[in-house]
Every structure is written in structure tokens, then in C-alpha cells.
Symmetry: C2
């Protein structure tokens, strides 16, 4: 019973991401740095601290701390210290950082060649696999703010019932570490 669907899927994922990673060195950064940068670019202002990046990427805080320092040295992100909690740091992506993310690899070209239906089907399958994986690991979902059970829309705007503060339209379209799909 050596090569069933499960191990084949694992192998395919492994191989795809290795081939992708080998093309992912453009713009003076390595694949790990790019992954962290890409997360920061999509995360809302409550979710851009080292611990949260670490959780999202499944790495340790120590490793991520180093990676973020490297990105800051390259001026692709910048430190923002918090007033309220003097221990915590948040990182904002700079203009140069966003620019670095704007490129495409052979995998994008291959995806462009797939028909729309297959692509949507694949998005759905990978999404549900990820959800299952996160559940098994007991990890947070890191979903989009507007789809969260704590997100309350009213006439006067949008409110986060967990953090107890009002949300901007930008916030609600981004990834939140407190996201709970319910």
C-alpha cells in the first residue's frame, strides 16, 4: 500500500512548492523572506507582529524574528512600536516592499493556462485541505476580517466585537489573526 492518493498528493505539493521556490529568489530576497513579506502585505494592523507571522508560517518566533530583521535591513518593511504594549512590535510594508511582491513565476503562467472552472475547483479543494490541516494542528485560521463572527456591520460602520474597536474598510478586507469562522 505504498503510493495511494494521500502520499501522491503530498508528493505533488512538495514538488510544486520546491519548483516554485527555486524561481522565488528575485528582488534580492529568498523564499522565506518573500513568504513573510507577502503575509505582512495582506494582514491587518492587528496582525503584523512577529508572533503572528510565526504562527501563520508555522515557524518559531526566533526564526521569524531574524527574517523580519533581514527584511527591515533591506527597507522592505519597517518597525512600528506599540504605545499600549511596550513589548510588542508591528511591521509595515514599505513601497519598495509592495513593489518586490509584484512579479510572477512559471506557476502563474501554468495556472493561467488552466480553464477557470478547474482553477476554481482547485482553489476550493486546497482551501478545504488547508482548513482540515489547521484544525488537526489546532492552529488559527487567519481568515479575512469581514468573514469573522466578531465582525459587526451597522449603519455607523463596522465594529470588531472581540477587540472592541471600529474597523476601517481596509481592515475588513485583510487577514486577521483573531479570525474565527464560527
Amino acid at each position: 500500500m505504498k503510493h495511494n492518493d494521500s502520499s501522491q498528493i503530498r508528493d505533488l505539493l512538495e514538488r510544486l512548492s520546491r519548483l516554485h521556490a527555486s524561481e522565488d529568489w528575485s528582488g534580492d530576497i529568498n523564499p522565506s523572506q518573500r513568504a513573510a513579506l507577502a503575509y505582512l502585505a495582506r494582514a491587518n494592523r492587528f496582525s503584523r507582529a512577529p508572533s503572528q507571522v510565526a504562527q501563520y508560517l508555522g515557524a518559531t518566533r526566533g526564526t521569524v524574528s531574524q527574517t523580519l530583521k533581514a527584511l527591515a535591513r533591506k527597507e522592505l518593511i519597517e518597525e512600528v512600536r506599540s504605545q499600549s504594549d511596550k513589548r510588542s512590535i508591528s511591521y509595515d510594508v514599505t513601497k519598495a516592499g509592495f513593489a518586490t511582491l509584484d512579479f510572477s513565476t512559471a506557476i502563474d503562467a501554468a495556472l493561467a493556462d488552466m480553464n477557470i472552472g478547474d482553477r476554481q475547483q482547485l482553489t476550493k479543494s486546497l482551501g478545504s485541505l488547508l482548513t482540515g490541516l489547521l484544525q488537526k494542528r489546532g492552529d488559527r485560521s487567519f481568515g479575512i476580517c469581514s468573514t469573522c463572527r466578531h465582525n459587526i456591520k451597522s449603519d455607523t460602520g463596522t465594529w470588531c466585537g472581540l477587540l472592541e474597536l471600529s474597523l476601517t474598510p481596509v481592515d475588513t478586507k485583510q487577514i486577521c489573526h483573531e479570525h474565527n469562522g464560527g
Copy 2:
């Protein structure tokens, strides 16, 4: 047009493989070493040289050379020097090497929870994405020997029309670097 299906699929692949990699350190080896070891365990006797591992993984020969030396130090694989071409080396996976590959992670558990149809669908989609990617990159397919256009079955056995030698039943079930699907 920032977050369409394509970039979402790329993100999902990235995140799944990072989360998987973080669990992939069991048995005293790291994810890269495991990937090389897993390839060697599935490749036929004509396809176990450093150059071929490098092509399969999309890494450079230098990197792979180091990785294989590390695996050899740990006695999970062993060097086999070729008589015919004194430059080339091949690696065989040892018993301990095969044993190291025999474990499962949260992603296997998540896959086990999917229904069979979805799993087969996912296998198919990922397979065709990989095929497209390899084509874009101009890489070899590394398919199973028996599905190759050079594979010739006759009463007396199986023959490789490219390498011009006879194939054992084991050979034909393994990955070949000369594979050509036609």
C-alpha cells in the same frame, strides 16, 4: 485585480507546504533531506545520481551534492560508483533510509478526512498543474518508466528503447529521469 484565483492558489500551496515542512523534521533529517531521500526511494537505478535529484527538486547540483553527503553520513543512503562512467555516482537508499520515510503528518490525517472523490479530483488537478509547470520551465517529467514511450513490452520481457537495455519489473514501476510521456 490583486487577489484572483491564481495568486490565491499560489498562496495556498505556499502555506500548505510551509505548515507541512514544519512537521517534517522527524527522524533526524530536515525537509530538504527528506525530499531527496523520498525521490531516491522512488527512482529507478538509472536516475539516482546527484544531477538527476537536482533536476527533480529544482535545486542546483552543488546544493544537492551537500544534501546527499549529509544523508550518506547518516547512513540513510549509500554511494555506488559506476564502472562505465567513472565521473558518475549513484545512491541507494538503505534499510534505515526506507524506515525514516515511513511516518505521517497532520496533512495525511487531513487528507484521510477528505472523501475519495475529492481526493482523486485534487490528485488530478495538481497533476495537471505540475505538468503545465514543467512544460513552462522546459523540465523533464520524471514519470513512471512503464508509461514511457521508450518502454517496449514483449514476450521475453520489457526493454528500454532509449537506453537499449532490458528492464526488471521493479525498474518499470519506478521514476525515470529519461521519461517521455509523448
